[in-house]
Symmetry: C2
DNA sequence: CTGTTAGCGCTTTCAA
DNA sequence: TTGAAAGCGCTAACAG
């Protein structure tokens, strides 16, 4: 029987073995749910009892080194401060928990180099899988090279031209829903406050919106600028720009996300422009509280929590060797008071 | 020189050593920032180059087993869906990142048994430290027993009678600020929509509020119920209860957090009660969007991001053997349009 | 400056 | 049913 000292005070398998008078490997078996029936009942009970009495806790790091798995999922997001991301993490956390997996979260701040560092780090940590909800078009190669190393799911932000598994949602439809809504309300001149082009969602939303407008003969004013980030500040900036341009003002404004819509709303309010009296405004995401702002914001609901959960399910399939089909969730239009018929 | 096979395809230190024609430990030294000057420059460069060429990534799990540290911080929250928690995680993540630490997040859903399981899990994973933003009064013992095992910071929710390090904020002052505000506006009958008693913040907010009212001779109506959770639903339920009670209605309502305030607001609106015309309403936390709801919500600002950052700093001290003083942040009152002078 | 050696705590064949 | 032995990939004490 092996004898060991415990240099750092924590109780090991060997301590339990010593105390119970068996070999460490027997303890290992007795405590492993899948192997416990290989140990005679009384022995097992004695071991379990001893382990409990000594306050033994399995050392998951050691187990991980041996088994090659860490029961950890790397979750990479752009910005934890964006409340759009939280439900995704929430759904994902819940979903993978059933597999005994724990999320390890990192934030890119939408910086390519930071993403590279984080990916490197996640690989070094030997996370079992990766969920990336921070992809931008310039990140494709680096993501694919990581995707060859470990199961990877691209979530929330679509990545064009990749073979990596993706769970996204229909941004084109979302854009179309917004345009259709304006059209039905009788608007004839509309504008988009666009998010950055290298985040896959925004060009798609733009396309869905513009295509519908073209078909429906709704005029679309094209701003020469787009948001550098999908933030309140950038929404405000674009709204300012729109007002200062001096053209005939559109009657319908489609902000590419709720934060931008909220930023624009403040600008409109400060400029004495009534929403929805003079201007109808729609956003995207249906953030937790936009139904309560003044006026309640019409928006396209993004199924964040479902998306997180779906990402977890895809991960699960990926981890058991399957190759899950890409998931493509549907947005819905949530009509509130910020849009009105002309 | 040692020769090894690579059963699972990933490049190890030994592969690099083999390729570079040196001993593994030399590679280890060459790649360790703190030991690299112990290796002759040309050798080091050759090693670094080889490592790069082979695509070597350090195995942090193996390193962790050896060094006893995992560069991981367990972060335990009650509910990721509560947008109050996100800035805390955000600040914390940013703060510990500089130490090379990564957060590992878990959610208790305010369930004691789940907390126990999560703590067990975190210990087994050998996280280097723990931040618990989900403590309830009944959790003290279990948290203290974990606190003896590893550096632990209790954050956001104060835990009475413990020696564990805490970073919280002055809930009593927060409650007082709300009461004082109502008093100055001339309100003479007020009420609290209370959060659950076993979350340390709420009784303190209640005390701060009530004490001020007593001293200032403001009458306080005491509801026989309190929220079972600090949620929109429970806020609505208490508001319903308040209205159905048929007493003379208070003119000032202090909801123990913004979610409850928002829930109450909907009920008041549905009941045709104008806020702030008939009823002034104040919340707590200053969630991202409450300044934009109708009416903009007067609330006590909770310094979430700062708190997360402070938790990170305390962790850092704890990890380097220090014993940081408890941190106690200050709330501030944010006056908006949901409260008005009588 | 570099090689040798001995583990970190656990799982997992292979024997007995 | 249990024990023995090897080793996951890395670091660190000790030689040389």
């Amino acid at each position: 029987m092996a004898t060991r000292r415990r240099p750092n005070g924590s109780v090991t398998l060997f301590d339990v073995a010593l105390e119970a008078g068996v070999h460490p490997s027997t303890v290992s078996r007795a405590l492993d749910p899948r192997q416990r029936n290989r140990v005679k009942e009384p022995t097992r009970l004695r071991i379990v009892d001893t382990a409990h009495r000594l306050g033994y806790r399995p050392h998951l790091v050691a187990r991980g080194l041996q088994s090659g798995r860490t029961a950890t999922v790397g979750v990479i997001v752009a910005d934890l401060g964006n409340s759009f991301i939280t439900p995704i993490i929430h759904g994902l956390t819940n979903s993978i928990e059933t597999l005994g997996l724990v999320p390890m979260i990192a934030e890119t701040e939408d910086d390519h180099d930071r993403l590279a560092v984080i990916l490197e780090h996640m690989v070094s940590r030997r996370v079992d899988a990766l969920v990336v909800a921070a992809a931008r078009s310039g990140d494709r190669e680096i993501l694919e090279s990581v995707g060859r190393l470990l199961p990877t799911v691209i979530a929330a932000r679509p990545l064009a031209g990749t073979t990596l598994s993706q769970v996204t949602h229909d941004d084109v439809l979302g854009g179309r829903l917004a345009a259709e809504h304006f059209h039905r309300l009788g608007h004839r001149l509309v504008v988009q406050l666009r998010g950055p082009d290298d985040v896959g969602n925004f060009p798609l939303r733009g396309t869905g919106f513009s295509d519908y407008c073209r078909r429906a003969k709704v005029d679309e004013l094209e701003l020469p600028q787009r948001g550098r980030a999908p933030s309140e500040e950038e929404g405000a900036r674009l709204a300012d720009f729109l007002l200062s341009a001096g053209r005939p003002l559109p009657t319908g404004v489609f902000a590419h996300n709720d934060l931008m819509a909220v930023g624009a709303l403040s600008v409109f309010r400060d400029a004495g422009i009534n929403v929805p009296g003079t201007l109808s405004l729609a956003g995207y995401n249906d953030l937790p509280m936009v139904g309560l702002i003044d006026p309640p914001l019409t928006t396209v609901r993004y199924p964040s929590m479902e998306l997180g959960r779906a990402a977890g399910e895809m991960l699960s399939q990926l981890l058991s060797g399957g190759s899950p089909a890409d998931r493509f969730l549907k947005p819905t239009l949530v009509v509130r008071a910020s849009t009105r018929a002309l």
